[in-house]
Assembly symmetry: C2
Homo-oligomer: 750 residues x 2
């Protein structure tokens, strides 16, 4: 039995160097990698009793998964802390500097000298650029100088970021989530998670965020975490040398990335599970949670936001929501879905244009133009000038005693800090703020369409949240004023007639933010959990869920794909979505290659010479060949990979004597069939004796299910035991595209 077993696994043997590895831009074979890992594991368990050293090695192997995710969590937390601190310092650098200690950002600068009157703008330790140069604090000249400095710094940062990406790590651009989804589904993109990508992406991210572009650092954080995961996995051969196992670490790293991006460990794990991961055994769930928690814990210890709460946009509202409010919340969801679809379609159109036109050849110029445009338009409007995260926080928050923004210019007087906030008419500055917010909404939407997809690191979470928050806040102010003016119509009568503020515009901003983000990414549970962790608002799960649901449905009705799936399609990656259902009625026979009147390229088990095989290898480009009993009977024996065949023949030619072009290539284990010619080349050890086969009558939905769940690269199609053809992942993807009336040739890789 164990001898047979060894044969069955001999395809995984490391006898011939290079066997078991993958080429760039190829799909991995999950079953083979997992089998390889189990064999390695059994070997270690068996050897454990041999010596003390083997025992230690065994223990190290058992712990290595946990150790690896521990490191990944620790370093992800540190990286996030560094990026947060760097981005916050450089964002403030656009406005001014702390002369006594230039390494402090505005907030720290004012704090460090115990200035208690720091309220959003003025503190004598912090010098704006006009102050530095002309010592004048007001006047039109000062405004122009500030404006100029703002644009100049933005240009500097953006050009640095774009040049770094262009020169050192082209993979560092974009959000990285579409690629990570593809990689996790079992695809090889060499260098995408390498150390250069990590370094350039981190630096470039700080720069492009500081440049004031309409982008966020949350999506790229997932990419950065995955780079860290990939790099650390090489410390542990169990993961580094096994692509399938490595993806377990990458799943955990993705969870850690979201965890540090939003301070949401549970949301991170669910994001990894729902959105990016493909193969997610439950063991990984627990490890991902650990990794996400460590990362969040480290980040909280670094405390880059300088507040006590571990959440980014901590809010606390006085009032619960009214049941009737579900109507505006669902409306927000619908609007969010529409805005999101608009954004996806426009962005996709622009990205396709970039790919096909000359524009794609000047990435740095494009970044500079967009930066200048963004800076010029953004500066005059205070809501677009400020950091996007700050804007979101402002929009989420409730107007209280301490809030001096013009959004809170209500005609109310606070007599007591603790008493309930009374409902009041909006002052003129609120209306002004609403108009500025409408402008900001339009501007952010347009700028984000042009920004996402440029060759700098750029994420989409924060701009989406911001769009939604603006929309929600405007609707919220509208609802609030409605309740103030008509407190006695039945929907408000129970809660609003007491004179207390019954509508919280900040909550609407939160719900709107969830709606747009949900529409753009099509996240569901993870979105609600992230929002809930992000804001600490346990009571508002139902409104968030209602909006997220409405937004997803509207989005799905208007355009099938979320932004990440759309970008995967744009790049032609071979991603077989595990969420889509295969809705068509084709059979395996309709999809398999070759078609009816073509010949199938096969090997026979014992009648082909080395020259025959060489010819076959030269004339075809298939990644593997089925092995059959004979050309007459066509009964299937096994499957051989092109790569293995190439390596084995080259190896034999180099090492074995007597192998000529006339040598028979033999895949059977039978006794030495001594022919009169040169010695045969025995290749049974590279033959996969257990290929997955299906019959030609198998419905394609079952085939797609098998590709997804078993992680296949190809399957062999038989009828009554005879081989008819092969179906590869590319065939399946092209077939799906064809049935969806899309261009099947847009699937580029195998």
């Amino acid at each position: 039995m164990s001898r047979d077993y060894a044969y069955a696994y001999s395809k995984n043997s490391d006898d011939i160097p290079g066997i078991g590895q993958y080429d760039d831009f190829h799909t991995i074979d999950w079953q083979r990698d997992i089998a390889r890992d189990r064999m390695r594991h059994r070997y270690i368990v068996k050897k454990k009793h041999d010596s003390m050293w083997d025992l230690i090695k065994g223990a190290h192997d058992a712990w290595s998964g946990w150790l690896c995710v521990l490191f990944v969590g620790l370093f992800t937390g540190v990286a996030a802390g560094v990026i947060d601190i760097g981005a916050s310092w450089m964002t403030d650098l656009k406005f001014g500097i702390c002369p006594q200690a230039f390494w402090l950002n505005k907030e720290q600068c004012c704090w460090s000298y115990n200035e208690t009157t720091f309220d959003g703008g003025n503190c004598s330790q912090w010098w704006t650029w006009p102050e530095v140069f002309s010592q004048s604090k007001t006047g039109a000249g000062s405004y122009v100088i500030s404006y100029m400095f703002y644009i100049a710094w933005a240009l500097l940062f953006a050009s640095l970021s774009a040049s770094l990406v262009r020169m050192f790590a082209p993979y560092a651009c974009g959000s990285g989530i579409p690629e990570i989804k593809t990689i996790l589904s079992g695809f090889i993109i060499r260098g995408y998670l390498g150390k250069w990508t990590l370094i350039i992406k981190s630096v470039g991210l700080i720069l492009s965020v500081s440049a004031g572009l309409s982008l966020g650092k949350e999506g790229p954080m997932v990419h950065i975490a995955c780079c860290i995961g990939n790099i650390f996995s090489y410390l542990f051969p169990k993961y580094g040398r096994n692509e399938a196992k490595k993806r377990e670490i990458l799943s955990a790293a993705a969870a850690a990335g979201v965890s540090v991006a939003f301070g949401a460990p549970i949301g991170g794990v669910l994001f990894s599970l729902e959105e990016v991961s493909y193969y997610f055994p439950l063991k990984t769930l627990w490890r991902s949670f650990f990794c996400a928690l460590i990362a969040a814990f480290v980040l909280r210890s670094i405390n880059p936001f300088g507040n006590e709460h571990s959440v980014l946009f901590f809010v606390e509202y006085n009032k619960p929501w009214i049941f009737f409010e579900l109507v505006p919340f669902v409306m927000l969801g619908i609007m969010g879905g529409i805005i999101a679809t608009l954004f996806i379609k426009a962005n996709l159109y622009w990205c396709r244009y970039r790919k096909t036109s000359k524009l794609g050849q000047y990435p740095v110029t494009e970044v500079l133009v967009v930066t200048v445009a963004t800076a010029i338009i953004a500066y005059p409007n205070p809501y677009t000038r400020m950091n996007t995260s700050q804007l979101i926080y402002l929009l989420f928050s409730q107007c209280g005693v301490s809030n001096a923004d013009m959004l809170c210019d209500y005609d109310r007087n606070f007599t007591d800090v603790n008493s309930a906030i009374e409902i009041a008419a909006a002052g003129p500055r609120v209306y002004q703020a609403v108009w500025l917010l409408v402008l900001a909404l339009i501007l952010k939407l347009i700028m984000t369409i042009f920004t996402f997809g440029m060759k700098v690191p750029c994420g989409l979470f924060i701009p989406s949240l911001c769009l939604g928050a603006i929309m929600g806040r405007i609707v919220g102010i509208g609802m609030e004023q409605l309740a103030y003016k008509y407190p006695h119509i039945w929907v408000f009568s129970e809660e609003c007639s007491t004179g207390v503020d019954c509508i919280t515009p900040g909550l609407y901003a939160m719900v709107g933010a969830a709606a747009v983000l949900g529409g753009v990414t099509r996240m569901t549970v993870s979105l609600v959990v992230i929002m809930f962790e992000l804001t600490g608002g346990v009571r508002y799960i139902v409104p968030l869920m209602a909006a997220a649901m409405a937004s997803k449905w509207v989005g799905d009705a208007l355009g099938k794909q979320g932004i990440y799936d759309a970008h995967i399609g744009l790049n032609g990656y071979p991603f077989l979505d595990s969420k889509d259902e295969f809705q068509h009625t084709s059979l395996a026979a309709d999809v398999m290659q070759p078609k009816r009147n073509e010949a199938l390229n096969v090997l026979t088990q014992d009648s082909m010479t080395v020259d025959d095989v060489d010819t076959l290898l030269k004339e075809t480009e298939h990644n593997g060949f089925p092995v059959i009993v004979s050309r007459e009977s066509q009964y299937l024996v096994g499957f051989v990979l092109r790569r293995d065949l190439n390596l084995a023949i080259a190896n034999a030619r180099r090492l074995m004597e007597g192998i000529t072009g006339q040598s028979l290539v033999i895949f059977t284990s039978g006794s030495n069939v001594q022919t009169h010619g040169p010695p045969p080349l025995k290749l049974k050890k590279i033959l996969d004796m257990a290929p997955i086969t299906i019959t030609d009558q198998t419905p394609m939905e079952t085939v797609v299910d098998m590709f997804r769940k078993l992680g296949l690269r190809q399957t062999l199609v038989t009828h009554n035991g005879r081989l008819l053809g092969v179906i590869t992942k590319k065939d399946v993807l092209r077939h799906v595209k064809q049935l969806d009336n899309e261009d099947p040739s847009s699937v580029l890789f195998n």
Copy 2:
């Protein structure tokens, strides 16, 4: 193409009544059921354009999943509310009654008359039984009367519960989670989720909880929710008539069950995902979340606990935890793992004894004896006398101004309500409480071992939490006194030297509770999330996680299985755990039936007569038969189920003329082979032309993976296209048991 496809699906046709259903105690065929559903879906989509009525039917079909989980959520919430209210009223009935309004429980009784001095015990509206009968409030006589009433009520409730279960719904006993896990993995147990089980389980649960037995109502709540899910699924043929689709609703229902049991919707979804579900597409995740949220929302509106928080054991501690405390937390985890393993082993031993001895024949007597024993021992100790949930809440909570229990008898004086709680020496009553708690721990552990598995509805969550909370509180008090006595040793020096209470014994109770529950059930992420939602303690995820991890590792090291898996094994259900890894090196050839020198029972495609088939059906008990080209060539054509074959032959005999025992049974679609005999019986439409096949060299780990991921009932083993044998789920399970040195014949079902 579509004609071929129709053939491929003809196995699912409803031409012959009864085809496509399953027998009791059989495994379902996931692939077939899902394919059936997709075909139905396509049919509806195609017909949608025909008429208005079809359009409405199409829309109803699209919505039915959401509608169904909405109903399930609503009714689960209501059921949980009724059970909570009923159990709370009847638990208090053991102690006394509200004479003015007998339907109120003690708390409501005291509240309803605006008595403000209700502090845990005394309110003039509530009459204890001695008061009702003798008007005396104190004295030994009164104690004895109370004791007697307590035992009498307990006996009454328990006997009622056990008799109801015995008479009307034997499936209503136990927690139900092992069976639900098995059912969700694709097994049929008729009546297990029926309306009688629902009614009797609900009533029996109220009674058995009120009887003061050491059991909880949280596990059975999952069973009750699944019953509701099953019943509502029959309103929607999409789910009611398709076992695979029905399991999507059941997964959502399980999430709703945990959601109402603990007020933890996110935890519920993760519990369903991690612990009970098997086939969990991401679509189900979102729907489960919706269902869990609706259920929690309804329950919160009913508000059976009468407090503002939606969480069961809401706690708020003043102090965060110190880093050093991770050491005792991990220690608690280890202790929790040990206690849990002890419990599992002892309980399993007792359950096996019950199954094999005469004891199993007297379930009602057993319940009565255990009830009397529990009541007699529990009453004198105040901590065992009180409701287990109340005890857990007390142990979790922090000693504050309002807490008058003897656990809080510290030598401190509260001068200001708002100021920090100073650290203080424990008073004598605290030590007394500790001794009582030690007694309670031992008692609860022993009583729970005997209780879990009795023929009454009984859950394990609350007793496990309680054991852990007692253990944790004791350790916590120890740590607190250590910090009080030695505030200057380095581990405490930073936090504890200020005189403020730095150690919160309640937090230790919480961590201990998580540890024992984790050890007993082997839950991980869902446990942490449930505990976090249960207590509202966001800050304590790290300690909870440390303890849960330690406990799981210790548990896994000491005994392989959690309590649910152990009970599944005890009952011989065919459950193929998707978490275990298959660690052995066997090949498909080693596992398949028949063994080397037995004959394989097969059908040929066109050479057997009806009599031959009848003989085969009579002589064998297989659930299906492979169809081959001919006995000589053995090339595989397809697979036929015994049930379908029986039905088809019976149907043909009834309806078709000329069918005799000599009629050929033909599985091909070829032209009418007109023989000289009677007309042939064409059975191509019941032939599965796309059976899943593997080669004999396939490693068993791949086979097990395919069984799990594709949800197979059997797979056919071939070699070079020839059929060698069959592997059924039972074969796989028996093989796994054999390799684990367990009794393979303990797997009872197929």
